[in-house]
């Protein structure tokens, strides 16, 4: 479902009616998207046998142990049991990558492992196997606080992401901040706007009937703003992802979350 003209008009009215203050949400007032959901959707997320995201986690566990590439290695051959070796890893991504000289997100890191260590072709963004692996790895950090690395080298990229978050763009001349900092208590048509904390990705989104990454969700928002979405894995979108993780620091990882 895309955002129709009616929704956009109501968004314009909403944003026009409330003077913009463009300030970050105080840390104590942050809320996960979970708190905006109805009872049924919450219970779907809370029960591992009702949460469809768990199907991808199970697929990821299989992929973790599958040997692949010309090196004929599995993820487990280097990293062992994901339950211990991957605990807390997703909570600190995107992280700085020496070779690339910039931060990479979890999906990119999985692909770096594939191409460099396993000598296997990189997986396409939003492919079933890449989502399964990232869901499996992120699941190992559930209930742990989001902890962006305290690394001087990533700071300029956090700032670049922050600049993107506050920059007005697209035909509607919107910034992310106008909705998610200033009007998170409002609604866009019938749906809550929320504070945009990426605590549950990859998420099972009922609208998608599928699991999807944070980047897919960001591109959704950009289409709604009528601006050209950043490419998957581009430096712009990874910086934005990094800023959002920093903005949600110390909030608990919920992955795989369910969202409407």
């Amino acid at each position: 479902m895309s955002i129709g003209p009616l929704k956009l008009i109501s968004a314009l009215l909403l944003l026009g009616a409330i003077p913009g203050v463009a300030a970050e949400i105080p840390l104590a007032e942050r809320k996960s998207g979970y708190e905006f959901m109805g009872r049924e959707t919450r219970s779907m997320q809370d029960d591992d046998t009702a949460n469809p995201g768990m199907l991808w986690v199970l697929d990821g566990a299989t992929a973790w142990n599958r040997k692949t590439g010309t090196e004929n290695k599995s993820c487990a051959d280097c990293h062992g049991d994901a339950a211990s070796s991957m605990k807390g890893v997703a909570a600190r991504y995107p992280a700085f990558n020496e070779a690339r000289g910039r931060p990479v997100n979890l999906e990119q890191q999985i692909n770096i492992c594939r191409t460099d260590r396993q000598k296997a072709p990189a997986l396409a963004f939003e492919s079933k196997e890449l989502l399964a692996l990232s869901a499996h790895v992120t699941r190992q950090s559930r209930d742990m606080p989001i902890a962006p690395p305290n690394d001087e080298r990533i700071k300029p990229f956090v700032e670049a992401g922050r600049a993107t978050f506050f920059r007005r763009q697209g035909q509607l001349n919107f910034s992310c901040s106008q909705c998610h900092d200033d009007n998170w208590n409002g609604r866009l048509a019938g749906a809550p706007i929320t504070q945009a904390h990426p605590v549950g990705y990859p998420i099972y989104r009922l609208e998608w009937q599928n699991l999807g990454s944070l980047q897919r969700r960001l591109r959704n928002c950009m289409t709604g703003m009528r601006t050209e979405p950043y490419d998957f894995g581009s430096s712009d979108i990874v910086d934005l992802e990094l800023y959002l993780k920093w903005r949600a620091r110390d909030m608990k990882v919920e992955a795989p979350a369910v969202r409407p």
Partner: protein
Amino acid sequence: MARALINVPPKAKKGDIIPIKALIQHDMETGYRHDFVGKQIPRDIISLFTCKYNGQEIMRADLFPAVAANPFMSFFTVATESGKLEFTWSGDNGFEVTETAKITVE
């Protein structure tokens, strides 16, 4: 093979009403969609779900293209005796998955 998640209480008292939940991974492609070059994407859905309790059918559901992907079934039964619950999903392209769960009734 498609994955399924089953939730049956492992233990129950005789006569108890017990909740049963079954979730399966399936795209439920409706057959009404077209790809980017206008070609119809063929229908690929689960069309039948059954649950048997020690061989006796206690639940049956017909599924249609309007059912969302990854269908989730939730229903109740009365715990009568210890044994096995057998869940079967079948549909287009020879799709058939069977999962079982054990229950102890005291």
